[in-house]
């Protein structure tokens, strides 16, 4: 014990021990990154590339949402894709009911239901006649689901590894149920042949800058919402929970409320991302809530920096972007995935705070020298 104390008293406090949580400079950096995202369409006139780039942004949004609950709240959610998938199915159901009659079965019934001998539109589909309601549900369903799961776990003081295992298992359960309920969900194939999103007569074509801007706007909004949460006192308390959950209780905070809150906010942002993804992909599929995607989100977040919202977001955009640009050639993509696995293991070993964390300590060292 005394050896430990001696070791600690030798520590010298210097610039590297400090954290400059300079909110102003952070807002400026976040603002610049968002502005850059907004000017992309002005020099990218290839509709196909723009569509791809908007999917990268959505993945960035997902990683950012995970950073909020994992990096700040200490909740390692391996089932982040659940909320993403629920959001995407909500949007897909609404857009399916808007398809031109040629894709649709008798009396406005979606085609796959006709093939599955469904005769009337299931009750669960009814609310999706209204787009407003569908958009509301696309966020509300994941939020309520997350609150239930959060209440189930955190009221029972489940932490660490067990949170990871439970969220992963729940992801698998939801995925199985969606595949199984073919008559309602379209099963393995998901929901395809969707109409384009149309709001007040304005059409968001998946292969145009309009859809891209829609995504950029919501990405910016949710990024700044998340930033505001981390800067608030609730955000500080959340980080305290991450560091030392029990200690927080003795200050009078009900830890589970804070955990459920951040878990639900993160799910809401993911649900929104899911809806946007359906708009640009023009379908929804069970792979949207697959184990592979869910764990990939964790990887992007860790590579970019779990304790930095913008780091996690850029990490995802960067990794998925390279993956996407190599996907033209099968062998390139395969090799890249191999290299990516390798890079990822290295990041976990040597940069536990990701690339953003590495930048921060570099900046601190530079300050130290001056």
């Amino acid at each position: 014990m005394s050896a430990v104390i001696d070791e600690k008293s030798k520590l010298v406090i210097n610039e590297t021990s400090k954290r400059y949580s300079n909110t102003k400079s952070q807002i400026i950096i976040y603002g610049i990154v968002c502005a850059l995202i907004f000017i992309v369409p002005s020099f990218m006139d290839n509709a196909y590339l723009l569509n791809k780039f908007s999917t990268y942004l959505i993945m960035g949004m997902l990683a950012m949402a995970l950073s909020l609950s994992w990096g700040y709240g200490g909740i390692l959610n391996l089932g982040q894709a659940v909320s993403f998938g629920l959001g995407s199915y909500c949007m897909a159901m609404a857009l399916k009911l808007r398809t031109v009659p040629i894709h649709t079965g008798a009396e406005g019934l979606p085609d796959f239901m006709v093939w599955n001998n469904v005769e009337t539109l299931p009750l669960i589909w009814q609310p999706f006649h209204s787009l407003t309601l569908a958009v509301f549900l696309g966020i509300a369903v994941p939020v309520v689901f997350a609150m239930l799961v959060g209440w189930f776990m955190f009221k029972g003081r489940i932490t660490g590894v067990y949170v990871a295992i439970i969220t992963l298992a729940i992801l698998v359960v939801v995925n199985l149920l969606i595949i199984d309920q073919q008559r309602i969900t379209g099963g393995f194939n998901g929901i395809t042949d969707l109409a384009q999103l149309e709001v007040f007569g304005f059409e968001f074509d998946a292969y145009s800058s309009s859809a891209y801007y829609l995504i950029a706007i919501f990405l910016t909004l949710s990024l700044f919402l998340a930033l505001a949460i981390t800067k608030s006192k609730t955000g500080k308390i959340l980080q305290a929970v991450r560091d030392h959950e029990d200690r927080v209780r003795y200050f009078g905070y009900d830890v589970s409320h804070f955990q459920i809150f951040v878990f639900a906010v993160s799910a809401g942002i993911s649900g929104l991302a899911g809806m946007l993804y359906t708009i640009v992909m023009e379908f929804a599929s069970p792979t949207f809530l697959g184990v592979h995607l869910s764990l990939s989100i964790v990887i992007w977040c860790a590579v970019g920096g779990r304790q930095s919202l913008i780091g996690a977001m850029l990490g995802a955009i960067f990794v998925v972007g390279i993956q996407g640009s190599l996907s033209e050639s099968e062998t390139f993509l395969e090799t890249w995935t191999l290299v990516m696995g390798f890079i990822f293991v290295m990041v976990v070993l040597f940069l536990p705070k990701g690339i953003a964390g590495a930048f921060e300590s570099l900046a601190a060292r530079i300050r130290q020298k001056n």
Partner: protein
């Protein structure tokens, strides 16, 4: 249900349980001893299956002949991974989830690039290709062999853990690493060997599964979640618990799939386990919790 159906479902359940046990046993040892959440465990299973395929295709070995080689190959791989990556992460158990997932991705890709992404098939040993009648139920001889093999491996592992000096050292380290090291136990070496043994067991599991299911680079992902739930449900450091929870899971899957379908049965079983973990994180058959 009539008696024949009941027996048939019970036997199917046992057969599922034996495969689950094969996969979970290696994981139970690794997780119990080191606290490492090894998401690459499924890939060890996959590598075992591919080793079986490669030995059969290129060296004309039958499954029986190749088992010992498969154990050695996958155990060596496991040992190498522990030495290069895992041993740096013992202080950060949650990060082992990330690192081992990365290793899993590497393993899958390496196989895809070398053996190709298409499905591969491993031939069943000829001696076991037929089936036998037990209580009026027809059962494939190979499945019975798998069951016996799983039981034998479990017995061996139990002996290793509780009756050999290696096992005593390992348990000493698990309970108190500092005291163990002051008695001169080299925890580095012991953990390395444990990881190798656990990986080797996974390799054997993969080899035995290969004639029953098709072999593909992503086959491991399906097993790793199940195996983890079994280990956690059984309780840390409780080998007996692992067996019992494998049996419970196998039988539950078999019975539930009789009433609904396989998918719903699987979903219900997973849900049941989630609820059990919530109320008994220490597992059903153990009093210890891994913090």
């Amino acid at each position: 249900m009539d008696p024949i159906t009941i027996i048939s479902q019970l036997v199917t359940g046992l057969s599922i349980a034996s495969i689950l046990l094969l996969v979970a046993l290696g994981l139970a040892i690794i997780y119990g001893a080191t606290g490492v959440i090894n998401l690459a465990h499924g890939e060890f299973v996959m590598l075992g299956a591919y080793s079986a395929w490669a030995l059969q295709t290129f060296f004309n070995m039958s499954l029986f002949e190749s088992l010992i080689f498969i154990f050695i190959i996958v155990a060596l791989l496991g040992w190498a991974i522990e030495r290069t990556v895992i041993r740096h992460l013992y202080a950060r158990p949650l990060d082992t989830i990330l690192a081992t997932w990365g290793i899993g991705v590497i393993a899958q890709q390496a196989i895809r690039l070398t053996a190709g992404g298409e499905l591969r098939y491993v031939e069943m040993p000829k001696q076991l290709a037929d089936s036998v009648l037990i209580f009026g139920v027809e059962i494939s001889s190979f499945r019975i062999f798998v069951l016996i093999f799983a039981a034998t491996l479990f017995g061996l592992t139990w002996y290793l853990m509780y009756r050999t000096t290696f096992g005593i050292k390992l348990r000493a380290i698990t309970q108190n690493p500092e005291v163990a090291s002051s008695f001169g136990i080299n925890s580095n070496r012991v953990f390395g060997l444990t990881f190798a043994y656990g990986a080797g067991l996974a390799g054997l599991a993969g080899a035995l599964i290969s004639p029953l299911k098709s072999v593909s680079p992503e086959m491991g992902t399906t097993y790793v979640v199940d195996a983890f739930l079994i280990v956690v449900l059984g309780g840390v450091e409780s080998l007996m618990g692992t067996v019992l929870s494998a049996i419970i899971l196998g039988e539950l899957s078999s019975i539930l799939s009789f009433y609904s379908n396989d998918t719903i049965a699987k979903a219900l079983v997973l849900l049941a386990i989630v609820i059990l973990i919530r109320f008994r994180p220490q597992g059903l058959f153990s009093s210890k919790v891994r913090s």
